[in-house]
Amino acid sequence: MKEYFWLASKYLRKRGVRSWLTLLGIFIGVAAVISLITLGDGLRLAVNSQFGISTTQIITVQAGGIVGFGPPGSWVTKPLVKDDVTAIKKLDSIESAIPRNIETVQAEFNNNLIFSVAVSVPEGRDKKQFYEFLELEAYQGRLLEDSDDNKVILGYDYSKKEKSGFNKKIEVGDKIRIQGDDFRVVGILKKKGSFIFDKTIMMNDGHLRELMGYGNNVDIIAVKVKSKDLMDKSKEDIEELLRKRRNVEKGEEDFEVSTPEATLATLNNILSGIQIFIVIIASISIIVGAIGIANTMTTSVLERKKDIGIMKAIGAKNSDIFYQSFVEAGLMGFIGGALGIIIGTIIGYFGTIVINYLIGSSAELKINFILIISSLIGSFLIGAVSGIIPAMKAAKQNPIDVLRD
């Protein structure tokens, strides 16, 4: 077998540029598959990390019927209210329910004005649970307390000059102007790898309510369920409760009750759909590549008719000639695939960096070794199979037809 590889490599080198051009189809196809699947994995990790919550016992409730753009829960026709939170808290399967308001605010620091997202921190008993739900910890300074007047805590990115948006890092003790009012920074949150947290301003609910005037409205209700087994029941209970409270029929809900798992599953389904679509496109490239290999091998067999005749005259069996061409076609596929894997992984690597930069996630490049090995084997086989017919033609050649030419 080693000899067939040696012979095959001789003819691959002989064809020079033509060999490289033939590899192109397989190369592009495999590079596309590898980069997009790697990128997709990175994107999936990035999306998953955006949730930033490790517990799966949280149900999110928000109103539907959006009529404008803004953070979740804003611009809805019929918002949730504080009484909804109280009612949900009373359900048997629920451990606690926390109202959250998310507002777009103007923030000013270092003579720079930016739009940012401000999130309310509930007061009283809910405050501790809020921090626990979201697993929030201070990286610098401390978390907010109920007694804090005109004080805020900021996401991690504000402590970095290049990410803060103010062209200057913010430190504990600095003053920041939000919607025209001055707020003292008492803490910077630990990095979460998600823009939902790392680019957020958090202030006590009373202040944000006063600042933005949303009254009793609530954007999102985060509900913690007593046990993971009760997730489905709790979801149904909340839906039933809100249908009654909002006077809507089943199937016509103007609110949404979602579990993190369901939301992630939906997002992952979308990502999988995109990946499948791209893999189909890449497959077309691979098929074109395979046709290219078959074409090159057919031409090659014709071109080296004489060499085949000579080899047969000096003792090569039909099977020797067949395997030599077969391996040669396989090698073309293999080399195309290997180059595709290298380039695809590089694209995947830089793509992941770009995604991390754009959405503030911290997804790492995940090299899928099974994908790589199966791509290599697959590329070899695609090449080899494409070369079967030309190889058979080569093997059947009669040496006496060419030896005296």
Partner: protein
């Protein structure tokens, strides 16, 4: 004397039974013994090449039998035929027929590869053969970097690679000048003296008369006459 090749009532007919039927060989009977230097002569279209193909087991007869060392090879499968000729027959062609993308050394190693000889043995044998024909300094040269005479010497080394019983040379000097042709023939004579059976197919009467012990004259696909040098036993 031990018989190496025997053609018995051999016919080679192309397009048999069709309008354009060609009888390349008709009822050929010949025997070549071990250690003989034989020339097959004849004008173009006389059937020399067809005869060479049959003797060299590159082709099988339409009718009749071809024996190689007593074994009937007329009905062998292509793969068995290939193995047999790789082992028993060394070919030398008018056009040298070296593989252009292989060095002299690799060309000589090639027949051994098809016989499953181990790599280090192939290498040692090929090097010693190239030394034998005084091409030790040209081992890593490609055919395009060699003169015609050097290419034909590489072809001789390649023909000897599997230490075959028979060397079958088709117009071995046809593409060489007379001086280089003489060098090539000198090597063939040396091999003959070492006990190899040499068969040359040629239309060069002087060459055949000078070097061979037996000459088969072919015309219109039939053996017209056989000349034997005095002292040649049969």
């Amino acid at each position: 004397m031990k018989e190496v090749i025997k053609l018995k009532g051999v016919f080679k007919i192309y397009f048999e039974g069709e309008e354009n039927e060609v009888r390349a060989l008709s009822d050929i009977n010949l025997e070549i013994n071990k250690g003989e230097f034989v020339a097959i002569m004849g004008p173009s279209g006389s059937g020399k090449s067809t005869g060479m193909n049959l003797i060299g087991s590159l082709d099988i007869p339409t009718r009749g039998k071809v024996f190689l060392e007593g074994k009937d090879i007329s009905s062998l499968e292509e793969s068995d035929l290939a193995q047999l000729r790789g082992k028993k027959i060394g070919f030398i062609f008018q056009q040298f027929n070296l593989i252009s993308n292989m060095t002299a050394l690799e060309n000589v190693m090639l027949p051994m590869m098809f016989q499953g000889v181990k790599e280090h043995e192939r290498l040692n044998k090929a090097e010693s053969l190239l030394k034998l024909i005084n091409l030790e300094n040209r081992m890593d040269h490609y055919p395009r970097q060699l003169s015609g005479g050097e290419q034909q010497r590489v072809a001789i080394a390649r023909a000897l690679a599997n230490d075959p019983e028979v060397i079958l040379a088709d117009e071995p000097t046809g593409n060489l000048d007379s001086k280089t042709g003489e060098i090539v023939m000198k090597f063939l004579n040396q091999l003959h003296k070492q006990g190899k059976t040499i068969i040359i197919v040629t239309h060069d009467k002087n060459l055949a008369l000078k070097h061979s012990q037996i000459i088969y004259w072919l015309k219109d696909g039939q053996i017209q006459r056989v000349n034997r040098k005095s002292g040649t036993k049969r």
